[in-house]
């Protein structure tokens, strides 16, 4: 088994794959074999700890199972145009909040605005490196 220095929780809970796995046509994600464009994958895992200090894994969700974690989508869904996500992948329009063209906050909070390729999201397009 070798020297066990650290176990990465990401590999066990479908949130990362090794480079070798990523080179294959399909990897295990969201409880099935499928292709995903990045070795890092979005997910949420839930754990419970009892009085004895024992830890239990109770739940994990991936892909669109995380949509409820984005309450702002609720507001988009209330508008006549909805999400209108017509890009190369649904969330291609999403940028870091400091990189949008339009400053929402009056104090000019958008400090980054660095050159960013369209559809630069790592969830379906090019990964951010």
């Amino acid at each position: 088994m070798g020297l066990l220095i650290r176990q990465r929780i990401h590999y066990d809970y479908q949130a990362s794959v090794t480079n070798e796995e990523q080179a294959k046509s399909e990897q295990y994600y969201n409880f099935k074999m499928q292709q995903f464009p990045s070795e890092e994958r979005p997910g949420a895992s839930v754990f419970y700890k009892n009085d004895k200090g024992e830890v239990f894994h109770t739940y994990s969700t991936y892909g669109r199972g995380l949509e409820n974690a984005m309450g702002i989508y609720v507001y988009l869904d209330l508008t006549p145009r909805g999400r209108h996500e017509e890009g190369p992948h649904p969330m291609a329009w999403v940028k870091h909040h400091d990189r949008y063209e339009q400053d929402y906050y009056a104090d000019g909070g958008n400090t980054e605005k660095r050159a960013m390729t369209a559809g630069g999201s790592c969830c379906g397009g090019e990964q951010t490196k």
Partner: protein, 153 residues
């Protein structure tokens, strides 16, 4: 972005709008009740005991999985896409980060610790957090490690 479209739904009287809205409301309520039933079922999902000692780097030093609960009995880990050699975290995960930040104190007072974990080294995570103006807890699982060959099914 401001956009106008030539095609849009019909413009109707207030009465007709109200009738259409109530029809949609009935469907919305049906979905809400289904969602409640699903949430109740989720609470009954069986558990699996975690036997591994996962180790994380945090601003307060090395922590085990059991330490991340911070005295609470429930822990939600968001697997934030931020690879060891990436310059920054994923934009789509960052919109989720925007939601966690500012909101985490609410579940923290309902026995739920919400935090993020990434494979990026802690220094990179801390730098990105500062840039994004975030304060939520975010641990790193970076480091030399033993990679399991048997994945949890």
């Amino acid at each position: 972005m401001t956009q106008t479209t030539a095609e849009h739904p019909k413009v109707v009287s207030q009465e007709k709008w109200l009738a259409a809205r109530k029809e949609l409301l009935a469907k919305e309520k049906e979905l809400t009740r289904q969602s409640d039933a699903l949430a109740a079922e989720r609470c009954k999902l069986p558990w699996v005991k975690v036997e591994k000692d996962y180790v994380f780097d945090t601003p307060a030093g090395k922590k085990k999985l059991a330490d991340l609960f911070e005295g609470r009995s429930q822990l939600v880990i968001y697997h934030f896409m931020f690879g060891p050699d990436w310059a920054e975290g994923c934009p789509s995960c960052s919109i989720i980060g925007d939601h966690i930040d500012g909101n985490a104190p609410h579940p923290a007072n309902r026995d739920v610790t919400i935090m993020a974990v990434s494979r990026a080294p802690l220094a990179k995570i801390e730098g990105f957090k500062k840039r994004m103006g975030w304060r939520f807890k975010w641990a790193s699982s970076f480091g030399s490690e033993f990679i399991t060959t048997t994945r949890l099914p």
